[in-house]
């Protein structure tokens, strides 16, 4: 049995190829697809190489204020070029694999694989991103991130569709991503948590990774924050982050596996939720009294009592470059 290697030069050709060969597996960086092929997990009859489709490697600021980030933008570029506007996603991108992997891997690939352990998913959920998918037959479809993940490695993508981009607003408030692994670098998530404060809407978004069959929001925890956070004075009842953590853990439905136990994952999600909320709330109020909606890119994120570190996402003057 041979495997065809399809190399469309344009997006239109890619969509046609996918329509003709719905079994073809799209490959961009190959950091996930090639591992599966090498392990003989699957043997598709065709690979659809999207690397020649230049448009996928582009991102743009759209008229509605959102960012449209092509499915082929690598983690390394996301950190370097968009880290100031998408800090949560940049933090997650920084935890993906090794520098070599981040130079090849993409959020588009993360979405295509739809693994519950994919690091890109929780920040997309917390930010309320939408996934732009397209088919030759039916054109463009926008799928909210929370509706994209259907099961373990299953997404809402139809067999003839390809992922074009994800759309998300630049951060309107502090964002954090936090991931537990059993070593200090280059590790697949035991569990992860993303938090995004949306001060303009007086609410917070969440995303849980690797602690349920799919990445998912902690909806009850978000509702709790919307109801209980004191957006007027910034006062944070010490019991509030703890309760938030409990609710976040309650949204998880983890399993025991080779990377960790279900009980530990639930516990860790609670700790991560509590800590990220504390950090984000500190950041928000350390900048001074809250002044209403943030629409555009945030300015400098100040930390109480400390200078902004070079390369900090809140420090737009500094050039941002991925570690080599």
């Amino acid at each position: 049995m041979t495997m065809d290697f399809l190399r469309p030069a344009t997006w239109a050709e890619a969509l046609e190829a996918k329509a003709e060969r719905p079994g073809a597996v799209p490959v961009q960086g190959g950091t996930d697809v090639m591992v599966e092929l090498n392990f003989d997990v699957r043997r598709p009859d065709a690979l659809l190489d999207l690397n020649r489709v230049a448009a996928l490697g582009e991102w743009s600021a759209e008229e509605d204020g959102r960012l449209r980030v092509g499915a082929g933008v690598t983690y390394a570029r996301l950190i370097a070029e968009l880290g100031d506007r998408l800090p949560g996603l940049a933090q997650a991108a920084r935890t993906v694999g090794s520098p070599q992997i981040r130079n090849r891997g993409t959020v588009g690939g993360n979405l295509g694989a739809a693994s519950p352990a994919g690091d890109g998913h929780p920040p997309l959920l917390a930010a309320g991103a939408e996934i732009e998918v397209e088919s030759a037959a039916r054109g463009v479809r926008m799928i909210p991130a929370e509706e994209f993940y259907l099961g373990v490695k299953r997404s809402a993508l139809e067999p003839d569709e390809l992922i074009r981009a994800f759309w998300t607003r630049p951060a309107g408030g502090p964002q954090y991503f936090s991931k537990v692994g059993t070593r200090n670098a280059m590790v697949i998530a035991v569990c992860s948590f993303a938090l995004a404060l949306h001060p303009a809407e007086r609410r917070a978004g969440t995303g849980i990774g690797s602690a349920a069959p799919t990445p998912r929001r902690a909806v009850a925890a978000e509702e709790f924050l919307a109801a209980e956070l004191d957006w007027d004075t910034g006062r944070l009842d010490p019991g509030l982050p703890r309760r938030f953590g409990e609710l976040a853990a309650g949204a998880a439905s983890p399993i025991d596996d080779v990377r960790g136990t279900a009980a530990y994952r639930r516990h860790a999600v609670a700790v991560l939720a509590r800590r990220t909320l504390t950090w984000a709330w500190h950041d928000l109020w350390a900048a001074g009294p809250h002044e209403g909606p943030h629409d555009g890119p945030r300015g400098r994120v100040r930390r109480p009592g400390g200078p902004v570190a070079p390369g900090d996402p809140g420090d737009p003057e500094k050039p941002r470059r991925e570690a080599g």
Binding site: R94, S178, G260, V271, P307, A309, G311, D312, P313, A323
Partner: protein, 801 residues
């Protein structure tokens, strides 16, 4: 501050080259560069997996999926029917002996009537393309009848109703040690400990190339640790006399014990002889996890009795080592665990029972530290508990019980060379501690590393306190915190702990083994200049023996130009590259051969003649010598007494850790070590051995485990079998002592294994100190810390009067 300090005041002297002004800078005692160093760093070194011949074909292995099953039938027909397939062989096709093994010949070349572990080879295939070979292997139809798997080593050892994995019972070796008879003491601490199954995790998978020869024999190019013992096992299985099986060492990408047993050797030779074509076999990473032995997992029960001042009165221990489905080197591993089971401490009364057992778990055998690692984790954990019970510091309790030259081991063997353990511990304890972090939860540099300053921090190993981005001195860097860039804490929940570990390792083969090496040294004129060719069968596996051989030749002969020939079986056995023995034994053989050459040259040399002139007139001079270390003796089967070891080596570690006690994540902040190596042959290579051994011990403490459930491996990949990265292995302080061993060449003491022993208990002790938890098992998993509320000080069974 990172770096190695050597102490020449303790007996090290600089060896001089014998030639006038030649060979000094690259001789013994100097950091001579590796001859293969540039090639390896630039990616040009040819490893065994890079071997290539134009007409070669590819071999692949079909492995049984069951931990225990009967084989009803094997049908290779579907494989043979596939295009490009040249051969598909089963146990029926083995030309000679059906079994091989290092100690007992109990391992089938290919499974016959049953498989005893998941991944046991059942059939082999040769095809014109590696993928075709793999698919053909998968097409072979095997009819299995799954049988009950023995997976509990305790049941295997002690339950008479347990099925036997092999005829003759499941206990491979039981070695008692009995000293004295007074097992009473005012202070008693007891504990049960467990060590998980560590993998050697070499980077170069099992691979080699077998080339059929016109004389009916076979030439095998292979990455291994011991060419001659490979041949001794291969030739009978092929039904060939040994001289028709010629082995040449191919480029070895790490070993750590995992290449001591055969893997693809007989298979590739069988396929080559059957097809008449060169056959290459290369295991993939996943297959590699099933293709070599691992470190024996251990379950250990210890009871230490001491006087109120902490001086040991007795140790009782039961050490149970799971050898898995085949014997491999289990008996010798048991011997080490038993003979070194109380550690480097003076103990008047000892009662040890060490067992190695068969189960249907993955076979276990040699790995760096070899039985001494497992016991070390248990006895060092006990010493900390004893310190606590007696109100002593961990250092003081060890100092009070430390062996020294003249002390007796549990086997009755007297340590007859320097063993300055108490001084080593005091020196270690006096080393400055890394600065305490200022823990203010909240502001951190997020997300690093995004700028050049932190990029540098991620790729070098400087003092962690010294690598902060400029202007961020007060801001903790995520790289310094548990969890690293995954940002699990900004300082919340982080507590610091300090722990100590001490280890003692036997160097060279023990228990009466005829442990020797052979070297052939030739001096001749090449291009008008003297040149030395050193030939041995000793395997360079990355440790730097090839460099040491060059250094010895330069020092002994005063000739700068030295070549070490690729190791092969055209010269006598060098013994195994294991037990930290090659500098000692092959180094001794090279030195002896060089000195024999030197003596001949001295006779040949006319007055006033240069070496070149002598060689020009008299021709090349060549000598071959065999070197043996002093004899060792078996352990008494009932009492365990006997001078079983040739040499003993000590290393001590201090670990400083930061633990996120809520999440159970650990950042090792610093490892410090003091090791006595007798004599430094190559400072740079030595430092590499100490760093590497320490890292491997750290890995065992915190993350490295082949997870096995019901005889099945859950994580056969580097995705889930985790080894330390640069963010896990901290900078080290290393102090090297050089108190010469009068019995050893140059006074040297084997150095590769001891650091692997002591770093594991040191890291575990530091984590206990940070968390207050018992943590009786390594690797310590995050949930062991985060989800376990038990306190270290409240063990049932402890009593202190």
């Amino acid at each position: 501050m990172s770096g190695t300090e050597t102490r020449p005041d303790r007996g090290q002297s600089r060896e001089r080259g014998h030639g006038p002004g030649v060979g000094r800078d690259l001789g013994v005692g100097h950091s001579a560069p590796r001859p293969d160093g540039t090639l390896k760093v630039t990616g040009e070194f040819a490893y065994s997996s890079d071997l290539y011949l134009a007409d070669m074909v590819w071999g692949a292995t079909l492995r049984g999926p069951h931990p225990s099953a009967r084989i009803r039938s094997v049908d290779v027909g579907p494989a043979l029917a596939m295009p490009g397939v040249l051969a598909a062989l089963t146990c029926e096709d083995v030309p000679g002996e059906l079994f091989y093994g290092l100690d007992r010949r109990d391992q089938p070349v290919l499974a016959a009537d049953r498989v005893r572990y998941q991944g046991e080879p059942v059939a082999i295939v040769a095809a014109d393309h590696p993928e075709r070979a793999r698919r053909a292997a998968a097409a072979i139809v095997v009819d299995y009848e799954v049988t009950e798997a023995v997976t509990d080593p305790r049941r295997a050892a002690f339950d008479p109703s347990c099925p036997a994995v092999h005829d003759g019972g499941n206990v491979v070796r039981h070695q008692p040690v009995r000293v004295g008879g007074d097992f009473t003491a005012p202070v008693v601490v007891t504990g049960e400990y467990e060590v998980g199954m560590q993998d050697q995790a070499f980077l170069g998978p099992e691979s080699g190339l077998a080339v059929p020869a016109e004389d009916g024999g076979v030439d095998l190019f292979v990455a291994t640790q011991w060419l001659h013992v490979d041949r001794d096992q291969i030739a009978p299985c092929l039904g060939l006399p040994p001289e028709l099986v010629r082995l040449t060492l191919a480029g070895v990408g790490g070993a750590f014990g995992a290449r001591e047993d055969l893997s693809m050797q007989v298979h590739a030779c069988m396929l080559a002889l059957r097809t008449g074509r060169p056959v290459k076999m290369v295991y993939g990473r996943q297959e590699s996890f099933f293709g070599h032995v691992h470190r024996h997992p251990a379950r250990m029960r210890y009871e230490h009795g001491a006087d109120l001042d902490g001086r040991l009165r007795y140790v009782r221990a039961e050490i149970l080592l799971d050898g898995g489905a085949y014997c491999s080197s289990t008996p010798a591993v048991v011997g080490n665990a038993a003979s070194l089971g109380v550690g480097p401490y003076e103990v008047p009364n000892v009662w040890i029972d060490a067992y190695g057992v068969y189960t249907n778990n993955p076979p276990c055998g040699a790995m760096r530290g070899f039985g001494a690692v497992q016991a070390c984790f248990a006895y060092e954990s006990q010493m900390d508990r004893l310190a606590e019970a007696c109100g002593l510091s961990p250092v003081e309790v060890r100092v009070r019980n430390a062996v020294s030259q003249g002390s007796r081991l549990a086997t009755g063997q007297v340590i007859d060379s320097p063993a300055p353990l108490a001084g080593m511990l005091r020196e270690l304890a006096a080393m400055p501690l890394p600065p305490e972090p200022s823990r203010t939860a909240g502001p951190v540099a997020v997300p690093p590393p995004a700028g050049p300053a932190r990029a540098a921090a991620a790729t070098s190993v400087p003092d962690p306190a010294g690598v902060r981005a400029p202007g961020a001195a007060a801001t903790p860097d995520l790289l310094d915190l548990p969890g690293g860039v995954a940002q699990t804490t900004h300082g919340e929940g982080v507590r610091r702990g300090v722990g100590y570990g001490v280890g003692i390792k036997n160097i060279c083969f023990s228990e009466g083994f005829d442990d020797h090496s052979t070297a052939r040294v030739r001096v001749e004129l090449l291009g008008g200049e003297p040149h030395v060719l050193v030939r041995t069968a000793a395997a360079e596996v990355g440790q730097g023996l090839v460099t040491v051989q060059e250094q010895i030749a330069r020092t002994e002969l005063g000739v700068e130009r030295v070549t070490v020939a690729q190791a092969d079986t055209t010269v006598g056995s060098a013994g195994s590259t294991s037990a930290s023995r090659q500098s000692y034994v092959t180094g001794g053989a090279v030195r002896a051969a060089c000195r024999a050459v030197r003596e001949r040259l001295a006779v040949l040399r006319a007055n006033g003649e240069t070496l070149a002139e002598t060689l020009e007139r008299a021709g090349a001079v060549e000598e071959t010598r065999v070197y043996r270390h002093r004899p060792t003796f078996p352990m008494d089967p009932v009492t365990g007494q006997g001078d079983s070891h040739a040499q003993l080596a000590l290393c001590v570690h201090r670990a400083v850790v930061d633990v996120d006690v809520e999440l159970g994540l650990v950042k090792v902040v610093e490892l410090a070590a003091v090791q006595d190596v007798g004599r430094v042959l190559n400072p740079l290579a030595l430092e590499g051995q100490i760093h590497g051994g320490s890292a491997q011990g750290l890995g065992l403490a915190l993350m490295e485990e082949v997870q096995v459930v019901d005889g099945r491996v859950l994580n056969p990949s580097f995705t889930d079998y985790l080894i330390p990265t640069i963010l896990d292995m901290p900078p080290m302080r290393v102090s090297v002592l050089a108190n010469p061993d009068p019995h050893a060449p140059y006074g040297l003491r084997g150095a590769g294994e001891p650091p692997t022993l002591s770093s594991t208990p040191a890291v575990a002790a530091a984590v206990r100190a940070a968390t207050g938890l018992r943590l009786p098992r390594v690797p310590i998993r995050p949930h062991d810390i985060a989800m376990d509320g038990s306190r270290y000080g409240n063990w049932a069974g402890d009593r202190s009067l």
